[in-house]
Amino acid sequence: MSLEITLFVIFALAAAVSAVMVVTRSNPVIAALFLVVNFGSLAGLFLTLHAQFIAVTEIIVYAGAIMVLFLFVIMLIKPENEQKFLAVNKKIKLTAVFLAALILVQIAYIILFANPSARLNPDLNASVQAGTIESIGTLIFTKYILPFEAAGYLLLAATIGALVLAKKKFE
């Protein structure tokens, strides 16, 4: 087994297991911890895809900022634990899981039926080049400058909105 396949298997298993854990743990802090693990393994998967910049940004933005915010809110409001995943509404939840599994099978069938690998001819050099910060930066600041500015405005609006919403009394 080559190094690439080994890394893929490890990270993919970690991502899948931690995703399930996020949904099934009754304690929100533990769920948040598993979500961080999930982001970490996703960053590893991005590295196997040669997307260095996105892998590092994933850690900085998601694990380093967004999840800390989540933990901060969880600790501030201390929500009581929910009951165990299957303790209440067992039938409805099992139905949801069953339906999700059914859709997954459908998606997997469609993906395998469409057979994208036959139409792609991946090129290692092009893929490494696509993941560098230079090529992403060039695209962001030339072709996609308008969406970039729009994203900036979106963040500004979100900051103001969050301030207004979370403030105790707004005079």
């Binding site: 396949i5 949904v23 998601y62 949801a96 999700a100 690998s117 792609l120 969050a162």
Partner: protein
């Protein structure tokens, strides 16, 4: 590039559906939010996989924008949760059902 892209796509589908199940079954608003992040991330994985196999950065630029939107969404969403919690003393979405207070 020895791994077929299908594996990445199926993993992404699995994570997305896990997120969907989380949104549908969990009652804690914060966990529902986390499940949404999970779904966004599975979409990111698909984008990056295709971008890498096509050898073109546009997918990764798009992931960058998804991250911006996710950050904005998390900030506003958590602010809403705090505001709701201040009024109702709960974040259980079954009890937040009167659309006013």
């Amino acid at each position: 590039m020895t791994i077929p892209i299908e594996y990445y796509l199926i993993l992404s589908g699995f994570m997305f559906l896990t997120g969907v199940v989380g949104v549908l079954t969990r009652r804690n608003a914060i966990v529902v939010f986390m499940s949404i992040e999970l779904m966004l991330n599975s979409a990111d994985l698909t984008f990056v996989a295709f971008s890498s196999y096509l050898g073109n950065s546009i997918g990764q630029v798009f992931v960058f924008f998804v991250m911006t939107v996710a950050a904005a969404e998390a900030a506003v969403g958590l602010a809403i949760i705090i505001a709701v919690f201040r009024n109702k003393k709960t974040v259980n979405i079954d009890e937040i059902n009167i659309l006013k207070w």
